[in-house]
Amino acid sequence: MTISADHTAHPDTTGQAPAEDALSEAAKKFGITAEDYMLPARHQIEMVDPDGRLKPEGEQGTEPGHEYPLPGDEELLAAYEQLVVGRRVNDQNSALVRQGRMAVYPSSHGQEACQVAAALCLSQGDWMFPTYRDAVAVMTRGVDPVQVMTIFRGDWHGGFDPLQHKVGIQCTPLTTQLLHAVGVAHAAKLRGEDTVVLAMCGDGATSEGDFHEALNFAAVFHLPVIFFVQNNKYAISVPLAHQSVAPSLAHKAVGYGMAGERVDGNDVVALLAVLDRAVKLAREGSGPLLVEANTYRMQAHTNADDDTRYRQNSEVAEWRAKDPVNRMRTYLTDRGLLDDDGEARIREKAEAVATQLRDGLSEDVPVEPQELFRHVFEKTTPQLKEQSALLADELARDAAASQNPASQEAAK
């Protein structure tokens, strides 16, 4: 039942299938109970180990009803390319911050597998709602890198059109964007469109009220939303143990009546396998899902943060050995899917994006003061017109004075 021009539908014919029926339908498909469908598998899903070796099938964490086929070679190669680009983007942006070209950059260094998989699992008509840390995911979705960085360059709050790319503006008030994802999915569902929406947040953010409200709304309205939590172990300085004592963040799903799964967040193969299936299930009408990716924030929260105040170097070193880019390179090379030429071509591409960022961000983009008033409302107000005239007058006088220093002196 979709919303059509016939908007006088009889209430008895408009009810949707209750969520619990759909859940047991989904569970039945896999021959397991609804609880087993909603609870994450006993172990996280992992496919390629930190040394780049494919794990034996019995050790991938899969279970009946939690089975994940290996993604195709083409998808994996595309993902690797984006991993290399993503890493280069992260490091280039951090360098630009150090050089004073950008105000701030919350890097996803170490989390690139999550960033890439979050974008690649979606189809063109799907939506993504990213956080401040998800610039690489936004670029992987196809948004121009320099436009993505506008928010951090500081000349406006966002540089791309969310409607054109079906990507929400990067969101800083924690988890508020998850509700927007729910609304976009709800609107699409009412129109009978098969849009899937991926909504992103961090581990610390799962303590926020809007996290709860978004998951509950998505489950109650049975919406195709995938909540993708990057558990990078810290919320600025605060470790996960201070946010939650749940068995895992993925276990929160069952409390809302949705399916949860844990996945190695530094293994792009496992990530794609889990997210691809989640997208498929959501699109088929199985309702929302919660995916927790186990990863690590390799660098400080932002350039303004000093992570030596709250964590040990040894911990960081442990995670360096689990790097998502290196393990994928080894895996693809060993499987004969990647050779030196391929690697060189990908590096070249990454370099080109880095150059684009350097060029785009070293340019001093002129700001237009009148833009301050132009976008507040669709239909502006007399008060804003007055204030805009006031600023215009101020600027005109400044300009006149600077063209004629003598009169400036005289004015004093």
Partner: protein, 370 residues
């Protein structure tokens, strides 16, 4: 159907679907022609129904707005008429309601959502301030949020705590929101239709003590007038009304305070003083022109509002009038507002609310020559 809080048994959603449907079809068929006594509640309800008829992207949701028709019955019959997909109950979560509406507006809908009471909209404050108000600006106009947040507000209904707040100043202070508040039955219809038509987000503040006030109104005529005005691109936005013409002083009021101001003007007339009453109607954008014109003419002004006076819409109005009318003023502008205290318990509210006597005292204070 009195404006109770949600402890009534009806509020538990026990009204049968059949009853709701019957009520709705009765409402739809029984609309009389010509001016009739109509309540503000009925005018708002009719505005919602008409907007939903006119545009399938208009959706109504909130707490108890479905089968029950809202605790104030403003959404009565909408689920029965338009189906559960167009008017539905959500889980109890105000931030969730507003946040989901933001997403729906991003994706082509025109949500009209209900906050059950003024003070229960506060959990949604972050969504309203950080997203509803800013989305258009953050995205340089790429994303419009044509959504309406209806908030029953104000006191005078004998409500217990958390049910009587005047929260309009929070929203008026937030750049990026438009804030409407009707004071008459006709404006209830007209301004709600205009708020729904607006491509900017509108906080629609409904004076709950006026829900059951009646005026002689022809709903069919209002409907036609709305269509005509809409196609001509006209709206009440930013247009105050002269609710009662006068010559000696101006009473500036909005929402629940307008009838009080009119009563004060009536009483003053008996004493030989002619007071002009301005109904501000849209707090944002504010109609400086109409208000200033009146004060320049009368030379005296009193601003009346239920909300606490400190750092409020009423203080903003005083500042604006003073800036624009200084040389025409015969006396300082006075204010009659709620005291700067948390909203009082029912038996004490009469001491708190601006009343006719307090308004007349303020008028007496305006440095009359004789």
């Amino acid at each position: 159907m009195s404006p109770t809080i949600t402890t009534s048994s009806e509020a538990n959603g026990n009204v049968s679907a059949a009853t709701a449907r019957a009520a709705a079809s009765a409402a739809a068929t029984a609309e009389a022609t010509g001016p009739q006594p109509v309540t503000m509640a009925k005018a708002l309800n009719t505005a919602l129904a008409d907007a939903m008829h006119a545009d399938p992207s208009v959706l109504v949701f909130g707490e108890d707005v479905g089968q029950l028709g809202g605790v104030f019955r403003i959404t009565d019959g909408l689920t029965a008429t338009f189906g559960e997909q167009r008017c539905f109950d959500t889980p109890l979560a105000e931030s969730g309601i507003v946040g989901m509406a933001v997403g729906m507006a991003i994706n082509g809908m025109r949500p009209v959502i209900e906050m059950q009471f003024d003070a229960f909209a506060y959990p949604a404050f972050e969504q309203i301030v950080s997203h509803v108000a800013k989305m258009h600006n953050r995205t340089k106009g790429a994303v419009k949020l044509p959504m309406v947040i209806r908030v029953p507000y104000g006191g005078g209904i004998g409500g217990v705590e958390h049910h009587c707040d005047s929260s309009e100043s929070y929203y008026a202070h937030t750049a990026g929101l438009k804030v409407f508040t009707p004071a008459t039955v006709a404006d209830g219809y007209r301004m709600l239709r205009e708020a729904i038509d607006s491509d900017d987000p509108v906080m629609f503040m409904e004076p709950k003590k006026l829900y059951w006030s009646k005026d002689q109104v022809d709903l069919a005529e209002l409907r036609n007038a709305h269509s005509a005005a809409a196609s001509a691109g006209q709206s009440s936005e930013g247009r105050a009304a002269v609710a009662r013409p006068g010559t000696d002083a101006t009473l500036i009021a909005y929402g629940p305070s307008v009838p009080t101001a009119l009563a004060a003007a009536e009483a003053a007339a008996l004493e030989g003083r002619s007071l002009e009453v301005i109904d501000v109607r849209t707090l944002v954008p504010f109609d400086d022109a109409t208000v200033s014109e009146s004060v320049r003419k009368t030379g005296r002004a009193v601003v009346i509002a239920e909300a606490h006076g400190f750092a409020s819409v009423s203080s903003e109005i005083v500042a604006r009038v003073q800036e624009r009318c200084f040389h025409h003023l015969a006396a300082p502008i006075r204010r009659v507002t709620g005291f700067d205290i948390p909203y009082p318990a029912p038996k004490l509210e009469k001491y708190y609310l601006p009343g006719v006597d307090r308004i007349l005292d303020a008028v007496d204070d305006l440095q009359w020559e004789n």
